[in-house]
């Protein structure tokens, strides 16, 4: 079977963004995932966020590994270069691409198998390196393409489709990312587009590694009774700890920051995110407080969602590397090659 291209039909009344593009311009090939898959909703949220943010599609690099989630980079922004690499290794490919060309916006899409089992090391080190990228972890607690094995994010007691209960403790990507020093940590739900879209926009504006753990149910293998990653269970147990409103730069002045529980975080590109916390003592700019809150929710059997932690003053990979603002790929050869005179002089040091 070959991929299915969507017909490029544009409705005359379609709204356009500042670049003159309609939302259809941010779509990709037709999804081949199962009908009702949470991942398709996440794709739709990325499409909307990209359109609303006026991202130039050709300035986006779509990066992924292997798995159902990783296939979805083909389903949005068809005018972007995409790289569907090997299982669990998207973070390293993205690190290299970002090192070479920092002018692109990198959107990485991964899953719980790709990120928390085979790719746990790579994801962790991309966080350490603080690669400037959006990292979507589409989390369904199960291996879909191989038909229903537990993933490392499966909760204790969660049941497989065959009725077997998981006994091993789960890896929570939010707690892990907070521990490793990630500077943007969020959790959301594929069924909650209203929450997800602003978080994606904030993540795209963030300088550094922005991880969004999206609970994205697998309708074929993990949406049954007894699963803790089903639509029903997630709806019932989701507790939005922090609501984020994304405010683009040009509209910033119109937003009055009146409410006491609202914190405004200015992103590096000048846009801002207004964070409304549901618990009065919760500070989403404080790593310890974020960690404690997620833990407390977990102990109560709740799933904490929202933009849980953000630090806009972190140093990213390019700060560590001291690379210039000009992407390395655009530096002319003449500046890279020291030339004959330098070599002749250098040779004297080897005598």
């Amino acid at each position: 079977m070959t991929s299915i291209a969507k017909p490029p039909v544009r409705h005359p009344s379609s709204r356009t963004n500042d670049l003159g593009l309609t939302i259809r311009d941010y779509e990709g090939a037709m999804s081949t995932l199962c009908a009702g898959c949470g991942h398709d909703s996440v794709t739709a949220a990325i499409v909307q966020a990209g359109w609303e943010l006026n991202l130039e599609p050709h300035k986006v690099g779509k990066m992924s590994g292997i798995g159902c989630s990783s296939k979805t980079t083909a389903y949005f922004m068809k005018q972007s270069h995409g790289f569907n690499s090997v299982h669990g290794r998207m973070p390293s490919v993205t690190s290299g691409a970002a090192a070479a060309n920092r002018a692109l916006t990198y959107i990485g899409v991964s899953g719980d198998g790709d990120s928390l089992s085979i790719g746990l090391g790579q994801m962790s080190h991309a966080i350490r390196r603080n690669v400037n990228m959006l990292y979507m972890l589409e989390n369904n607690g199960v291996y879909g393409l191989t038909k229903g094995q537990f993933s490392a994010s499966a909760d204790i007691g969660s049941k497989s489709k065959k009725g077997e209960a998981n006994e091993q403790s789960p890896i929570d990507p939010v707690l892990l990312a907070l521990t490793l020093g990630a500077t943007f940590v969020a959790r959301s739900f594929s069924g909650d587009k209203k929450q997800l879209v602003p978080i994606i926009k904030a993540g795209l504006s963030h300088k550094g590694f922005a991880i969004i753990d999206v609970i994205s149910p697998c309708v074929s293998f993990n949406d049954h009774e007894g699963s803790t990653k089903s639509y029903a269970f997630t709806r019932e147990h989701e507790v939005e700890a922090v609501h984020a409103d994304f405010v683009p730069l040009q509209r910033e002045i119109t937003v009055a920051d009146t409410h006491e529980e609202v914190r405004t975080v200015v992103m590096h590109d000048g846009a801002s995110v207004r964070l409304r916390t549901t618990a009065p003592d919760y500070d989403p700019t404080n790593r310890e407080s974020a960690y404690a809150h997620v833990r407390a929710c977990q102990a109560r059997g709740e799933i904490a969602t929202g933009l849980l932690f953000v630090d806009e003053n972190g140093r990213d990979m390019h700060d560590y590397l001291r690379t210039p603002a000009t992407p390395l790929v655009d530096i002319p050869f003449e500046k890279l090659c020291p030339g004959k005179g330098a070599l002749d002089k250098l040779m004297d040091k080897f005598r």
């Binding site: 079977m1 070959t2 690499s85 490919v93 090192a99 080190h125 690379t323 790929v329 050869f333 020291p338």
Partner: protein, 602 residues
């Protein structure tokens, strides 16, 4: 050997006691006397305490291979006395530390034993354990200077260069050199029958290791992204790249780094990083050794199947698993040639020495981009870590990187549709675009089945069409890779075939064989896939020897597989103990099967 400017000597010491600087001092002094010299560091996988040796060969004729025999041994490590004494050639010399009684292990008939109280002199003249241990090495260097007639002015000059800003160290080193020198002069007949005499044979040469040379090549080729996971014997390549970049690539005005060096979490990540960078349009490379190549296999297949350029330096070491990581071998040939699962074939370059390593390092980036594929530069520990005497590197100011077929925005304007894997020119190479170009240039890289338009496919014909193009590309590459280097003699019907670091020993062996009346031609292969010249050489020689440093005759297998040469028509000469090849191994193997022939009259 033996005589003026034609002998070898070695020092047996304990790792981590500072002997490296004394050995380097000796070698460099000889080099500066204008005499061709080679040093081989035979060191353990250890930071401190295990045995280490340094072999120096002096050759007025310019032979740089590891010597077949040793004229003089300085035995300073009790743990290896017996072994070290046994390596002295009959009639040779042994120097030992006579601060203690001569141990039975050191006694041997037929050699001259010279006792010098290195330890005692150090205790009497220097303070503190550290100084006494470190300076003992400089004392033996002084004694060797007297025994071998090393120019003391040269040594003094070198010490002044090294310690000019540290007068205390300069004084103690001078004193140590003098102690050793004076003791030898006063107690022995100096110089020995084999000794040094100034020449003028090194003025256009340098002493350099292959890792440094490869790193410099990467700088000159314009590589901007380097990444690696530390591994012996490859690590120094990135350290040198960093040092060169700090010297040449830091913007003088802004301080910005026009390079990115990423220490990866493992070799898998290193492979991913260079492939990501290569896809994005940067010249990128990683340096590793056999175990790293094993870990990178999956990514190598991805880059092959998706036409992404990347350069891998493989500094080969000895053995499977951890093996002997500080010993040399050429045993990754098969694992490089067909790295990864599925049908894969790769381009490999085999430099013979640091001079060629510099040139082929530059060229590897051109080949990777021209053919849009992984390129391996396969050196080994001997080339990578030892100091070799090679000609000064040259640079052609007209050099510009060959970026291969890259369509920019203007080029895309002129075409109807961009199909990433469409072979327009029939050479198997399809034009690529770089991310960010916009317009119709966007495409989707996928490791899964894809057709010539880069679209997903599970169609048999579309799959075969794509992998057949890759095969065509590989065949085309065979005509473009560096040609073999031939050393030919009139009347030869025997051919010696080798790669990489075996070169020096094999060419020396050819000279030695000629002296015995056996005339041979030498073909040193410099790349894989093999060009037609390689096959021609086999077709025109009655008897061929394939000389390589691995157990399983991997080069011979590749020749049999790729060129269809009957395996049994090639006589294997295999040397895989982990040491650099000596001419003797080759001479013995050839003479064992070829009887001497009368010299061909002119």
């Amino acid at each position: 050997m033996s005589g003026i400017n034609d002998f070898s000597f070695k020092m047996g010491t304990v790792n981590g006691t500072g002997s490296a600087s004394a050995n380097g001092l000796l070698m460099q002094a000889i080099f500066r006397m204008g005499i061709p010299v080679t040093g081989k560091n035979i060191f353990p996988s250890n930071i401190q305490g295990l045995p280490t040796w340094y072999e120096i060969r002096v050759s007025k004729d310019g032979y740089t291979a590891r010597p077949s025999e040793v004229d003089l041994v300085v035995a300073l490590n009790p743990a290896t006395y017996a072994k070290d004494v046994a390596t002295v050639r009959p009639g040779g010399y042994l120097v030992y530390d006579s601060s203690w009684p001569l141990e039975p292990d050191l006694v041997r008939e037929g050699i001259t034993i010279l006792g010098i109280p290195f330890g005692k002199m150090c205790v009497e003249n220097f303070q503190g354990d550290r100084d006494r241990t470190l300076l003992r090495n400089i004392v033996y260097a002084g004694s060797l200077a007297a025994l071998l007639d090393i120019d003391m002015d040269v040594i003094s000059g070198m010490l002044a260069e090294k310690y000019g800003k540290k007068p205390k160290l300069l004084d103690s080193n001078h004193k140590a050199i003098r102690l050793g020198y004076d003791y030898a002069k006063a107690n022995f007949e100096c110089p020995l029958p084999f000794r040094l005499e100034k020449m003028d044979a090194t003025s256009d040469s340098i002493l350099i290791d292959g890792n440094t040379a490869c790193a410099l090549g990467a700088v000159y080729a314009g590589a901007t992204v380097g990444t690696w996971y530390p591994i012996t014997p490859a690590t120094a390549l990135m350290e040198q790249f960093k040092a060169f970049c700090e010297k040449f690539r830091v913007d003088p005005e802004t301080g910005a780094h026009n390079y990115a060096i990423l220490q990866a979490e493992d070799e898998l990540a290193a492979a991913g990083i260079i492939i990501g960078a290569g896809w994005a349009g940067a010249r990128s490379f990683t340096n590793t050794s056999g175990p790293g190549i094993s870990l990178m296999q999956e990514f190598i297949g991805l880059a092959y199947y998706t036409d992404i350029p990347a350069v891998f330096f493989d500094i080969q070491r000895c053995g499977p698993a951890t093996g002997m990581p500080t010993r040399t071998q050429q045993a990754d040939l098969m694992s490089l040639a067909y790295a990864s699962h599925g049908d894969t074939k790769h381009l490999i370059l085999f430099p013979a020495n640091p001079g060629e390593a510099f040139e082929l390092s530059v060229q590897s980036f051109d080949l990777a981009e021209r053919f849009q594929t992984p390129v391996f530069v396969a050196t080994d520990l001997d080339i990578g870590m030892n100091d070799w005497m090679v000609k000064r590197f040259e640079w052609d100011e007209h050099y510009r990187p060959d970026r291969g077929k890259v369509l920019d925005a203007a080029a895309l304007e002129k075409i109807q549709k961009f199909s990433r894997y469409l072979d327009v020119d029939g050479d198997g190479i399809a034009a690529r675009t770089l991310p960010g170009v916009g317009g119709k240039g966007a495409y989707f890289v996928r490791g899964s089945g894809h057709d010539k338009h880069a679209a997903y496919t599970e169609d048999s014909d579309a799959y075969q069409e794509l992998v057949d193009r890759l095969k065509r590309k590989f065949a085309h590459a065979a005509t473009q890779m560096p040609k073999p280097v031939f050393t030919l003699q009139p009347g030869a019907d025997i051919g010696l075939v080798c790669i990489g670091g075996c070169d020096a020993a094999v060419r020396e062996a050819a000279d030695k064989l000629r002296a015995q009346g056996i005339i041979v031609d030498v073909m040193r292969i410099r790349s894989f896939p093999f060009g037609s010249e390689v096959k021609d050489f086999f077709d025109t020689h009655d008897k061929t020897f394939v000389i390589e440093q691995n157990r399983d005759a991997q080069l011979r297998s590749l020749l049999a597989i790729e060129l269809g040469i009957p395996r049994d028509d090639m006589i294997s000469v295999l040397d895989y103990g982990g040491m650099p090849l000596t001419a003797k191994v080759v001479v013995d193997a050839v003479t064992a099967t070829v009887s001497s022939q009368p010299k061909v009259s002119a």
